[in-house]
Symmetry: D2
Subunit: 443 residues, 4 copies
């Protein structure tokens, strides 16, 4: 998960709307405990590096080491809660915990900062655009009671971008001073556009993101919300494949999981129950054919044990499908790697004169639509709290992150600049190799 050497050139500083001159309404709570330690020390920074060799290699004085602004409540805030009007929008695909984040934002804003006007935008960025005709939703503590026990998002969602000028028109019309965007990297790119227009117009609207990715591929955040819930459910699908495969002659279970760019769900799900024999992820290329290819190894495993389970992340093996829409053999490109593998595996067994009973499982909706598990619920709540503290303190064009176990502020541009990926040389992937027994190189 290390950044490249160029890290020190990156700008870790977070934009702000202005100086904080208002006493936080949290003060009585804190004062009651006769301590001020609950407030974040504005002068401190969370180190980016975590090893002595990384720090030493910087050759920088300590105070110039790359570092993040810590999250948490500030003694002084930028916005007057009585005059703050908040909008919340959820964008992109479903992920366990969306409702938890919405609820966490609303409760923190109302119960602790005393903000009274919060609206939810319907169906992602579409909800800002007049032609879609979507009403906004009033978000009160009553409106969010218990929503965390259901999957999905009460606000609905949609994919794709909308014109940032039109979005800011809408924000102005609604008198919004604070916008929370819960979404993936596309949505954060959209939020950067919104922030740019806000700046051009000289408005004082804070734009803060809570990064959402079921794939766990967001940089600067140890584990994205919903990830644990997601891989736990994915592990059940691998179990299903294993049960199916071992009850028929020459059974092959093939499970297609999320993971466009990162194989975290596939890796963790495979480790959780140890039912998988092969795990294929975007970070580790493989070949199908040849004596060391997947097909040869799979045949061998089935002949030896009578069955096998293959787990493939949706972004794995893209190099096997050529960009013109046909695969390397000139066949029509299949819609996804799972379907492609299913076809190739069956074909390969048939060519080898081997019986095969292949069971193909694609559990995507099942995984992403469930309610957050207790860990993710707590995590969503705390991410939401951090986002609210940041926005109330006037921070903008940033997302909440988690680094070395601390909540931090990450500039939006940095958050969309790269992805977390499984390190093919790291201990997670080695654990997967050990647990599955698959070769270190397929091909």
């Amino acid at each position: 998960m290390e950044l490249s050497e160029g890290t020190e050139d990156r700008d870790f500083s977070v934009a702000s709307l202005g100086a904080c001159r208002i006493d936080s309404p949290l003060a009585p709570l804190v004062e009651a405990r006769r301590t001020t330690e609950a407030y974040v020390d504005e002068g401190d920074r969370v180190l980016f590096d975590d090893t002595i060799s990384m720090v030493a290699a910087r050759g920088l004085p300590i105070e110039r080491l790359p570092s993040f602004e810590p999250g948490g409540p500030r003694r002084r805030i930028y916005f007057d809660p009585a005059k703050t009007r908040v909008a919340i929008v959820t964008c992109g695909g479903l992920c366990p915990g969306l409702n938890d984040v919405i609820r966490g934002l609303v409760l923190e804003l109302t119960e602790h900062y005393g903000v009274r006007r919060i609206v939810g935008i319907r169906n992602g960025y579409q909800g800002f655009i007049a032609k879609y005709g979507r009403d906004v939703v009033d978000l009160t503590p009553d409106a969010v009671a218990g929503i965390n026990e259901h999957g999905g998002t009460i606000l609905g969602t949609s994919r794709g971008q909308q014109d940032p000028e039109e979005i800011v028109d809408c924000l102005e019309r609604l008198g919004i001073t604070m916008l929370f965007v819960i979404g993936g990297d596309g949505s954060m790119r959209g939020a950067i556009g919104i922030g740019r227009v806000v700046g051009e117009r000289g408005l004082k609207i804070s734009v803060v993101g809570v990064p959402k990715t079921i794939d766990n591929d967001i940089p600067f955040i140890n584990q994205s919300f919903g990830f644990q819930t997601a891989f736990s459910r994915a592990a059940e699908s691998i179990r299903t494949a294993h049960v199916e495969a071992r009850t028929v002659p020459n059974g092959v279970g093939l499970v297609r999981l999320m993971g466009r760019h990162s194989g975290f769900i596939a890796c963790y799900a495979a480790l959780a129950k140890n039912d998988a024999d092969f795990v294929l992820i975007p970070e580790v290329p493989f070949t199908l054919t040849g004596t060391n290819g997947l097909l040869a190894h799979l045949r061998k495993r089935v002949v030896e044990r009578g069955h096998a389970v293959v787990v493939v992340a949706e972004g794995a093996g893209q190099e096997l499908l050529n960009p013109e829409g046909t695969d390397a053999s000139g066949n029509q490109k299949l819609s996804d790697v799972g379907v492609y593998l299913r076809h190739r595996i069956v074909e390969d067994f048939e060519e080898a004169g081997l019986e095969i009973n292949l069971k193909y499982i694609d559990p995507s909706y099942t995984i992403r639509s469930v309610p957050a598990n207790p860990y993710d619920s707590v995590y969503c709540l705390r991410l939401a709290h951090t986002a609210v503290h940041a926005a109330m303190a006037g921070r903008t064009e940033m997302v909440v992150g988690r680094w070395h176990g601390r909540f931090v502020h990450v500039p939006m541009r940095l958050a969309v600049s790269r992805r977390n990926q499984v390190d093919p040389d790291g201990d997670l992937w080695m654990s997967v190799l050990e647990a599955t027994g698959q070769p270190a190189r397929l091909g």
Copy 2:
């Protein structure tokens, strides 16, 4: 669930290998309680009819009313446990509870009758046939400990028939005196063939079935094992579809469930959480087009509420796909009704100029591969006990059933003669109509 008027002509009597002359080894257990009521009264019968009008309409003396032989332990048994050798085979598709039944058979045979030699046949009827080269498995209490906590079947399974002569050759070679077949109606037809050959050769081999059908379509059994587990899991898939559908603009969730001939899983799963707007089952025909067809009603629902969920049993709407492999419009027949509906619904919305976000979910493997829930576990255990009692008493070519809450013996020929179906005039289907709000007739 009523039989047709011709019931009284049916033969409810169960075949037997001969007179029971051996004292049941259960005797000490029973004697310790100083009662003989634990034994089944061989002279009694469980009434087929359950209403006064049914009985009256028979016009028969009471003792000639149609009735089943009750299941349970007999004071005297046919087989000498010390000389009994048992084979167990599981056939056809997976169903929650297969391992529970295997375990129940083994424990009852060993712990209570003292039978010492039990073998499992691998991969269904294939396991009897030499060319497949499958070894048998020794089934001891240790070998079955904890297997009920896993889905699938430890014996494996396969589909299709094998030559009954060859199967009986194998039974003779193994010295088997008692064969338990756990399988669906195809498997029971196979078992009838085995019983016929056994009879022709004058062998004394009891052939007893434990009927398996995840669809709950076995006659003379109130609820088939695994059914509750299955529809509970299916309800989760409908929930998934509902969560997905309601979070996108014009979302339609389409869930394809089991149910070739009977819509019980679809009905119960739809009632369990009330997330479905339309339930389509084999027992109730429907049309797609026209002002009262499914498509018009679905469009209306989506326009009014923003989303809808359709649940379709795999055997529903078969009349819409013509037998030559093309649908009524002459298009190539799609592989199943779920895929066909997906295509037609999207096409219909597009023709109407309506946006649609359809999410298609086919959870079959997930539903059938899970371990039995506690109810089904207990039920499997008791079915297995009943099957063992029957076989030890020399009954053959019968399956265990459950009628009016009592375990009964049902001749195999009767068990494959018809199917349980959802009664379109009964209270179950009316409850579904009420819960979904769908019209009583689609088309």
Copy 3:
């Protein structure tokens, strides 16, 4: 589960407020299907007996055989939906499914009969009594949406009786014409009192009960709602006890379950996972001491296997605690049999010089407060539908039952006249003896 020989003297006929002269609003739904079979045939009856020997022993003409009125929708109803005002009350201890029943009643009344005024009474019968000052709750389809996903009852509950005169005063004040009581046998006795006062005052108020007992001890109902959910959860507690017991030297797990008069939960929970070594239920007396007592057998089991699990229903072994509040030894009576057994087992091991690590588990609240599982959800819905059909048809002082798989009407007086109990000579108890390996007689 058989009644005593005196059954034929019992009155199975259900009271009614008068003739049904109003066409059921369900008619269009039924007509659309061009059938009238959906209506219950008012002339038919569900047979009480289920075997030929029972029927023969009656020596009665068929039409006089003991039988129940079948449940279900009637072609003609007694109450005009537009003028119907309904009250619903939940009484006594929690049971999974209470919210499902409330929701089922409200949806059936509103969606299908068009009733518009339904109120919920708060905290059981207390809610009728002025001095407790509880408001009623309006019950609309919106108010009951999703309540079935939570345990407990949205109406609250309380124990104990209230003055029926005062209750009927309240019913009159509210203009109620139909009262649904969801409660146990104490509550049904209360409902009988309410029905009596209603009759004395010449009012036309239907009083219909949905019998609730987590113990499954209601007569004339194959399985009470919530029972499956309850024993499934109880099985987890036995698993806990087993895990705890087997990880320590001489571990004894002792689990106290519900079951004042009936051991169904203990039996089913013990069978579900087979972790129990001894099951003690109210129906089967046992002794502690002596060579064949529980303590001697328990010590033996622990010495042989290193651990053991004892499951005790709360009503078991009451004969060991004398009525004056002291046990047979004159010691102060302990609060319950679980605590008493814990004390006696530890004492006994210590006297025998044996190490013991006893883990005592009393999971009552956990079991009764969970949401209904999918089966119980469907079952509650259908019980509620049956109750509504009965009340709309003017039936009163009756509860809904289920007999031989059919929904039936049972007079309230009959429903409180006896209890379901585990038959010590039946196959359920024999399965428990076989699964645990415990002696048929302890003592």
Copy 4:
């Protein structure tokens, strides 16, 4: 979670049995990937500090900053796998994940290092002592297959210390060269004693610990294994209390959770579902009486809302119970704070003339005996892998830790020197205060 200023004086260096001269058998796996990055760089260290202010305050050159040795596979190892004989022991109370750790150790040792002789010690340290007469268990991959799906530990456990001399006698007798201790801080103190005797006798036995504490109170480990599983289950108990409390008049749910010294489980469980009104933990003192005490606030809450839920960690409020076994009022000391609070709350309501329906729930066994959830399963596996890598490289008297998201080696003496506790000034506790609405100070 910060250490005191004296950190720099602490010794973070890990003991080692000697130089590593053997090529790791992992080499082929690594070489196949043509990379050496999979090996830990022996020269690197993981920083103890995570903020710039902490580092700056040290005033130390970078290479002398406090830091941990990173965990992971080494290029060269100390032990020859062919000659390595391993013992594994589990000590103290149950915790979800014990079987996962055992399985992870066995699989890593056998599959990847090729170690062939691994034994399990029965019932904790007792298993080393002759007088208890416990056999050792052979631990092969087959013996550990699937054990992670069950709670508890297949090795059993016991509490308390045993003579380290006798333990080392046993290790010598068995020819053990590597001992893994899975246990809490008492067990790690025992392991330190074993290491001391090993050193005194000049033996080459590596003693490596996997720290176990359901309370999450181990220092230098971000989250202890089993913690997530535990608090998830604990959240269910709080839900139970909430359901019970809100269905009765003036209902109070009181839930006693683990947490002798740290309130992490109570805090996380309370945040997971937000059903709690008061959370009491060891780190934050409170008083019962007085206008700002718990009792006054609880009464107020119940009067306002009709019900309330109190969660108490077992170590909370110990200052209220005096050391002589009597409480501050001179009453006999009750066995635990939960029982004490139950008594005091009921008494207080009665004195105030308020009805109370208190439901007391102590779910300890239920929480600790469940199987690990998928996250904890993966985490246990990776902790076990790290422990094996460390031991194979000759490290000793250390435990595996996790610091800033990295697996590290922590000297045993350091691991038992202090405890993780909830920071009363940190964001976790502030989130709890916000979620419950309880005052920052009670008393």
